[in-house]
Symmetry: none
């Protein structure tokens, strides 16, 4: 058991079932159940939208009733944005994930229930659940697409259980071969010499501040050795280095 | 300005554009831009999927190129899961939201870039961005549907900015007057024109890669408006701008 079961009750559009399967697998979840999908099962549109999440889609189990679909599960959250006045506990996605992860850790089956596109979960379905999972949203436009609700809860599952709190930059993105301070200073002196020659660093009273701002900017870029060489080549090229050297020699 | 701009580059399916608009409004975001949508604009399938998010869909602006679409923006995140080896900073959705909220708080325009369904963002698009927004996911099945990526980032925006009342931005993320993309692109084109003239960008077969590396390096520095002006002044000075202009005129 890798994670909670997701149950779609009376889903109407195959596209939404497929998109739900895809995003479940994106976030490491594989157990999908369907209650009486409107257009039957299997469904070609679901397959197209699943984009290869066969593990989830082909493994999906279909039930006639919600009671059968959740019969073997313990803790269940009902995903709904509507006020129900049912005196049920309401959890954010993040809070629900903490509880679901705890159940999974104890090898207890648990799940999240999602209602039909147009009507959402019925009162009976909410009553069957232990708590409400409410996705916070814009109260003037709060109705999420079914597959988007699945995406948010699946993403929270991954975020809450897989993501390390102190996110580190993967080794492959760490810069290879950063420039040494010696390389950098060599470049600074080179470009500043050329900017003195071209009278950019002028008037003298402002030179120190200009140099400081420029050095600050180069530092901030976190240049590699190779990039410093490139910058030096650029400066030589822009100042007509080769031609000028020949002229000076000649 | 309520939040960051979301830019969909070359979206293929109207359904995804509509689903993106809907979930943006679910989470309080309204500024959507499209770069060259494949099936033209407006799009009936987008309208059907938007399910009433007219404020977003009808307000969506369409551009021919990514450069035009991001011209007035400052900080930009590129949403991509692919390894790029570009030495760009990588942020989780939550980390990106902290930075975006800081920009919005300072009334500076900022955005998040999403690539086309099949191909994702191009290298050029990533290079135009300041950092990568990487949605953590199952590494064996990591490709998210476009609208689902939008859902995750929009949800994080709401979660990060609306759920906690006293939201503070770490000082290290605050930037003074960052350069707009338009400023940056103007500088890129300026220095590249001069480097073409001085035959630095040679041979032609290597030009694209050289330009890419250079743009990447400039982006990484997180330049301010003033620094871009300084760099342009440096290039003009190094190439003997004033003298050359006089000679050209004479």
């Amino acid at each position: 058991m890798k994670g909670p079961t997701f149950i779609l009750s009376h889903p109407q559009l195959g596209e939404n079932i497929g998109a739900a399967a895809r995003v479940m697998l994106n976030f490491g979840l594989t157990d999908l159940r369907l209650v009486a999908p409107r257009d039957g099962w299997p469904n070609r549109k679901a397959e197209a939208m699943a984009a290869g999440a066969d593990e989830v889609l082909k493994g999906a189990r279909v039930f006639e009733t919600i009671e059968e679909a959740v019969g073997d599960l313990g803790l269940i959250f009902a995903t709904t944005g509507r006020d129900r006045l049912m005196s049920k506990r309401i959890a954010t996605p993040g809070e629900a994930v903490v509880e679901l992860a705890s159940e999974v850790g104890e090898r207890r089956k648990c799940g999240v229930l999602f209602g039909a596109e147009r009507t959402g979960l019925t009162n009976e379905e909410v009553i069957l659940s232990d708590a409400i999972l409410s996705i916070p949203s814009n109260e003037d436009f709060s109705s999420l697409n079914l597959a988007q609700s699945v995406a948010v809860v699946a993403y929270e599952w991954w975020r809450g259980t897989k993501e390390k709190p102190n996110f580190k930059v993967p080794a492959k993105f760490r810069r290879a071969n950063p420039a040494s301070k010696e390389d950098l200073i060599g470049f600074f002196e080179h470009i500043e010499r050329e900017l003195d020659r071209s009278e950019f660093l002028f008037p003298p009273a402002k030179r120190a501040a200009m140099v400081q701002n420029m050095r600050n900017m180069w530092q901030r870029a976190g240049l590699t050795y190779q990039e410093v060489q490139t910058l030096r080549g650029m400066v030589r090229s822009l100042t007509g280095g080769k031609k000028r050297r020949k002229k000076d020699q000649g």
